[in-house]
Amino acid sequence: MSPPGSLLWFARFEARLAWRDALSMLTAGRIGRQRKLAIGVIALSIFLHGVAFLVLRFITGEVRPDLPTLVMVTAGILLAGSAMLAQAMESVTRIFYTRSDLELILSAPVQAGKLFAVRIAAMAFAAAGMSMLVLGPFIDILAWQGGARWLGGYAVLIAVSTGTTAVAVALTILLFKTMGPARTRLIAQIAAAIVGGMFVIGLQVAALLSTGTVSRFAFLRSPYFLALVPNIDSVFWYPARAAMGDLYALVLIVGGTAALFLAITARYAPRFADYTLTAVSGSHGAAERQSGSRSFRVVPASATLRLKERRLLLRDPWLISQSLMQLLYLVPPAVLLWHDLGRGSTASIVLVPVLIMTAGQLAGGLAWITISGEDAPDLVRSAPLTASRLLRAKIEAVMQSVGIVLLPFVALLSLISVRQAVVVALGSAAAAASSTAIQLWFRSQSKRSHFRRRHTSSRIATFSEALVSITWAAAGAVTAISAPLAVLAVVIALAILCCVRAFSPRRAA
């Protein structure tokens, strides 16, 4: 048994909390689902290994660390790294601004720094775990086909997670010191959202501008790009070499990131409590005054609900950063639109499914916020309005927001192809309406702050929302090129919606 108050004791305590939290998130808080969950995890693992096999099946024999291969492996590591950095920044901000057990810890006769050291390590573990879930099957298949040396990929993922966590802690504290507690929250959360998608989006934008293609792989393998990257002997490729089993590079990468992690943790963990206290007291101290809204204006009930939703969304940096993640993926289509404007290119056809898919996903998130994430349900339900009128107003708020985001794209697209613009408008409306309907059928009472956990409340809703958006996107793409298959895609989308409706709890009730 580890003595109370020691690092190991805190680690055991945190591990127990994290395990229960993860279990509750995955089982949506319903007991007796552990067995189903285990079966689900095994099935998912088999599925992901199958996908990895299909992707990597062309690799036979030894893979040499030549420049194109190093570029591809480095891209994979950077992709994982950007996601881990975003996750770690989000976690650090959450720790800073949550009072939770802070007073208990600080009032106890133990060194709070030890607990915060454990929490920083837990962030690194969580980030590594998520990446291993996605990239692990690829490493396994590579090791199976190309030898055990590829298992070094796991060590690289752990190294990247410890390194990015250390960077996230240092960055957030730097922001905290320079910007102050009030601004750090907003900036760090938005930065986390941007960092998360930056690499993929940046790559796609670069591909569009240089090679005129949306394929990231084609861009990474293009002579144009290969001429720009560092020399094959550069230390820049060490992480990729380490992932491919180069022992020297592996020791250097793991050792370097571990040293960075230990240094940052040793420096900042003992001060974490002070930062958290400042952040919490800062957020509970001086209240934010709302400028520009001094006039008192009563509008009809439907408009008042829409106004409320708009105000709440625009004033919540966390929700904005979460929604921003979806909007970030509109950057490449925007670049493509700008690139193709006036050139009469047909490349804009790829925008049709991207925009329709985005509309569906954006509407799903917004619909959850307005329908399930109502912070004052009693107030709204006790108002003298029929349930249908309330619901209609909320749906209008969602559709309007999606419309505002997509309208500029549709307008620009109409300058290239009116047909494509009409298809995007109709397809986006259908996808947004479908996602909203799914959120309505699967609605549950929750808090806005639980937005990230909305996917766990119903797997069917999450899966069907994505599936219907994809189907509408496919229908849009097919319609844009005049294929009669469009009717089939529309029928499939409607059939999926009908099936989801049949399985929804509202229907069952």
């Binding site: 105000r311 107030l379 006790s382």
Partner: protein, 257 residues
């Protein structure tokens, strides 16, 4: 404060002669009955305290009256309006305040009241004047343009109370409104309720603070196991249970035990 609370007049909606609240045979079950054939009558202009041990069915009853829950059976009439058949009309004259103030963190108190005014279709002029009066009277003037996210529990409860009173409800329903309030805030809430009763409005309130019930209530109802087991003025209860001069606390414990 007197100018803040408009007296009930005949031009206000609903039947002034009907009971403020009349509940008959009300039932609600969550596997086991929470409210089990409850009958209750609150007169116009009455301050009615609903008491009972934890899990007695008080909150469930009030939530059904406020239109937040659908009863399994029974009837609810508010100033003669059938609250189950016509919930929209009933809600128009009811103000609801729960023990947990549910407000929007990202809105200011005035924006919150603007939202409430929109939901209850209060006209612009009346809503604006009343919102500013309520804000001033509840001591929130200096915070009127600050977001509620940094407000203390007492301040949040005051904002929620302002929201419940903005549309001048004829029946005010409060579930443990004094929970967690400091003495000053509790006094303010009690004063506003007393003033509303004086103006002819009816108040139905639950509380675990029996001294408050003893001091403020015109009549007291004791509920247990989802049924009304005792009702009357303090004197009537003392007579009925043969406890002359007993405090409400002594009587309450005798009744529920």
């Amino acid at each position: 404060m007197a100018g803040l609370v408009r007296r009930i007049t005949d031009d206000m909606p609903a039947n002034s002669l009907a009971p403020a609240l009349e509940i008959k045979g009300l039932r609600k079950s969550y596997g086991r009955p929470a409210v089990d054939g409850l009958d209750l009558c609150v007169r116009p202009g009455e301050f009615y305290m609903l008491l009972g041990p934890n899990g007695a069915g008080k909150t469930t009853t009030l939530r059904m009256v406020s239109g937040l829950l659908k009863p399994d059976s029974g009837s609810i009439s508010i100033f003669g309006i059938d609250a189950i058949a016509d919930p929209v009309a009933a809600k128009q004259i009811v103000g609801w305040l729960s023990d947990e103030p549910m407000i929007y963190d990202k809105l200011t108190p005035l924006e919150y009241l603007e939202f409430v005014a929109g939901l209850w279709s209060v006209d612009q002029e009346t809503a604006e004047a009343r919102a500013h009066e309520l804000i001033r009277w509840l001591g929130l003037k200096d915070h009127a343009y600050e977001r509620c996210e940094k407000f203390s529990r007492g301040m949040r409860q005051k904002v929620a109370l302002a929201g419940a009173l903005l549309h001048e409800p004829r029946l005010i329903i409060l579930d443990e409104p004094l929970t967690g309030l400091d003495a000053g805030a509790a006094r303010l809430v009690k004063d506003v309720l007393t003033e509303n009763v004086r103006a002819g409005r009816s108040v139905v309130m639950t509380t675990h603070i029996l001294e408050i019930a003893e001091r403020m209530a015109d009549r007291i109802g004791v509920i247990s196991g989802g049924r009304l087991i005792a009702e009357g003025t303090l004197e009537e209860l003392r007579e009925r249970f043969g406890k002359a001069g007993a405090s409400l606390e002594e009587m309450f414990l005798a009744i529920v035990e």
